[in-house]
Amino acid sequence: MEKLSFVGKSLPRKDALIKVTGRAAYADDREFAGMLYAAAVRSPRPRIKILSISDARARHTSGYVTLVTYRDIKGVNKWPVVMQDYPFLPEKEARFAGETVALVVAKTAAAAKAAARLVEIKFKELPFIDDPLKSLEKDSIKIYGKDNIISSFVVKKGAVDKAFNNAAYVVEGEFSTNYQVHAYLETQGAIAVPEPDGGVTVHSSTQCPFYVLDAVAAALGLPYHKVKILQTVTGGGFGGKEDVPALVASHAALCAAKTGRPVKLIYGRKEDFQSMSKRHPGWARVAYGADKNGRLIACRVKYVLDGGAYATLSPIVLWRGTVHAAGPYKIANVSIETYAAATNKVPCGAFRGFGQPQICFAQESLIDELAAKIGMDPVDFRMKNMLEPGDKTVTGQRINSSCGLKELVGVVRKRSGWDKKKAEGFRLKAESDKARGIGFSATYYGVGLGAKGRYLDRAGALVNIYKDSSVCVNVGNTEMGQGALTVLAQIAAETLNAPYESVRVEEVDSSKVPDSGPTVASRTTLMSGNAIIEAATPLRGRIFKTAFNLLTAKGADFSRPMVASKGAFSMGGKTVTFREVTAECWNLRQKMSEQGWYAAPRTTFKMENGQGDAYVIYSYSADAAEVEVDLKTGVTKVLKIWAAYDVGKIVNPRLAMGQAQGGILQGMSWALYENLVYKNGIMVNPNFTDYVIATTADKPEYDITFLEKPYAEGPYKAKGMGEVPLIGVAPAVANAIANACGARVRLVPLLPEKVWKEIRMMKN
């Protein structure tokens, strides 16, 4: 392999300086002349019939400008996301507490908020559903279609009933997981600025500017070329800024269209909790069967997600969960049935892991229970059944050579001291209330959108080299804190042999690059990276040829090969810089700007039976967690996490480490603490006082290893990384708790109250 100058190096983040010095301009930091402010009027109850909306009292507020309702929508009142069931503003019925029913525009943000509180919604309460399992019952009231099912999938393979009958060992269990809130530092926000030609420019904090483009164009009834979306520096996403920023931006745009003035709409934390997307609560009943030799032969899964009031991304989240529901194992007989059920609660959508963590918690917990029943070490049991190159997944997809799962498990086993610690079993220290335990998990993760999202799985890039040799790159995927600007700049620098400092990747401008799909599914490095390479490759050809000619003209010995490294070209004792070469290219009037495009290869998955290639490529992880459980209080402290990942080539090791540590901590936080509570259809704790997330004081020690299994199709052999570290944490922690004290808790979060109850039940 050629020696790389920029890829594989821990180069400094492109956005580090503006962020640490506070100069980064987030949505709320932008100001425009004559700007007005919007605030949402929200439904107070889980399900209402809207009788009237009146601003009679609100209009007395000083600075009040206007009320915006569905009547002000010039386009179609349907947010164009997946199922198109979510109106921009409801006309007759609001389906969850917190849903935006109307908007108030005023001269200050405070006036808008005050006036919004005074808008009167006259309504009639309708019966509602807050439990997804009840929602699926035959005699439930119907709030969504004929059966309350937003979406449903299957994977059918082999003869499942027969295999269970023949199994020597069978385990079955019910598991559930609660919501997770993205807790991004920057709440949702957008500014819409009307343009003189009737168009609009929208500044949006978003992961997916092209979803915002779709929505704003639809709401305003404008052609796409009159709508421009500029992504602002985005203060965290984690999936929470995938779909819903399009709704927020559309609301701002409706207000701007009505008033003819720029309108800023920034969410407060409470309304962000109440109305923006969340990780779906999940429920699953899983059964595994193994033969007498400890070989997995059967798996049956019923998996239900609480979709909330509208579909949003539920179908795609559910599909990912469906495909991965049996775990990274070879199993001949599989039946997976999954449902996204409608409830009158906040619509759930994307969150790092996207439908996988919930079911992974269930199946990886149950794998431990099965190993225990067989009397095998849980790691040995996993090793025996694990997918390896050449094996087929439960959807019948053959795993290619970029699969290091078995090695990952081996690495984690060794580094964690698994065999010794596991052998010690329940390690009660004499006269101590604390017990330590260790737990394991293994996962796989389909990179990119896969078969269900294949129409969106393409990306564009524009690479432009200026006369002074500085390089500007436009892509359609976003920086949201994960490091995309940096990693993509490294890929551009590497391909062009341009100095890293001279490359700038810009935040997305929807008018500069074609629709590149969403920035989700750990796809940005892979998709935008490949698009950049495609754009940069012809430029590279010109630059390298010109460099060779310049060196030759300088009298270099051209019998020797030319070496391009770190922004310089050398041959036979002579050197020219990237700057000199590009200047010469410009002198020669060569084309110094190119577009690139990358479309993911085809997938063969069939929705009818869930068979075929689901994703183009998979990333892998293995986790071991060591915990200390306080036997008197049930409090679990995660002491250390050993993790190993195969995410292909690592473009920037320091950023990859950050992604890994952040993912582990976010996964641990979900596993142990995060508990969003609804009571009678109303969210009870929409704040960080009572919705508790891990702090750095809860941070475990990390031991992280990357095994770089090259992926031939990836940019410099990279796969995808963002979501992988979160997925396996919860089951590893749950398994460690069971190992420490025997308490098998089947509910996430693994609250002390639940662990304590299990311990008490075992004593009695």
Binding site: G268, T633, Y673, V692, T695, A697, P752, E753, K757
Partner: protein
């Protein structure tokens, strides 16, 4: 936040201007509770009276028999006070569990008490130290036991416009422990917490006072358990008996933060750990 925030520079000025102010008014001290309540849309005051410039509410003073802590003293100031460290071991033990360093730089004991939360770490510790509270209304002062200030969650015995000016804690030789069970390692509201102050001589607890947070409508002073322990030597049997007894003195509820039966049991665990910490 109300449009009118008034910041008098002395108590005299406060009592002079108060009658002319809008009727719906509240005192603002560190603002760590009030500003949050206001941001959540749950405060309808027309006026806030900022008491942070009232010098009468400042300072930690020592007399022959008592320690006085002004109501406007920041928690971080107490944390660093030599006097507090010498005489108020329960409060000092509680402070690391009190919110976060940045909030402790703003928050005050007066605000902690006025907010009347059954979870208040500072109040819980002060009750175990047997504190009284000084109140003032239009120049008239009165002193009541701190336990008497609280009538229920967010409800106090304060009269309209009556102001907490400070806390008086008797000087008594004691050691103390603060045990808190929160939702995470650090920085959270307790599911249950206990403060124990005890004068221990040669292994015998001469005088014990136990207060518990988050397990009743107000901070609970565990009178029976305190009395039971007084005069006893803190051996294992006594400790476990006290841990059982304290469970009969609390009345926890199930809410988003925890569950009633768990909280009740935890009172026993925390009391026994706190007592073990004393010996």
């Amino acid at each position: 936040m109300p449009k009118l925030i008034v910041k008098p520079s002395s108590l005299k000025e406060l009592w002079k201007i108060t009658p002319a102010l809008p009727y719906k008014r509240k005192y603002l001290s560190g603002g760590t509770d009030l500003v949050n309540i206001s941001n959540a849309g749950a405060d309808d005051s027309d006026c806030w009276l900022d008491v942070s410039a009232l010098t009468e509410l400042w300072g930690i003073k020592e007399t022959k028999s008592s320690i006085f802590i002004g109501a406007a003293v920041k928690i971080s100031e107490i944390e660093n006070s030599v006097t507090a460290r010498r005489w108020l071991p329960a409060l000092i033990a509680a402070i690391p569990h009190f919110a976060s360093p940045s909030l402790r730089n703003m928050a005050t004991l007066g605000g902690n008490a006025a907010n009347a939360s059954p979870c208040a770490d500072g109040v819980c510790a002060l009750i175990s130290e047997r504190a009284s509270v000084w109140l003032e209304l239009k120049g008239k002062k009165r002193k009541i036991p701190l336990t008497g200030l609280f009538l229920g969650p967010k409800k106090t015995a304060l009269k309209k416009d009556e102001l907490i000016t400070g806390f008086e804690i008797p000087k008594w030789k004691h050691t103390a422990a603060y045990q808190k069970l929160g939702p995470r390692s650090y920085f959270g509201i307790s599911k249950a917490a206990v403060a124990i102050s005890a004068d221990i001589k040669a292994g015998v607890a001469a005088k014990v006072s136990i207060a518990l947070a988050s397990v009743g409508p107000v901070i609970v002073y565990a009178a029976k358990t305190s009395a039971f322990l007084s005069g006893k030597s803190l051996v294992a049997d006594v400790i476990s008996e006290a841990a059982e007894l304290v469970k009969t003195e609390v009345s926890p509820i199930t809410d988003t933060r925890s569950e009633a039966d768990y909280r009740r049991e935890m009172c026993g665990v925390l009391v026994s750990r706190a007592l073990q910490g004393l010996t």
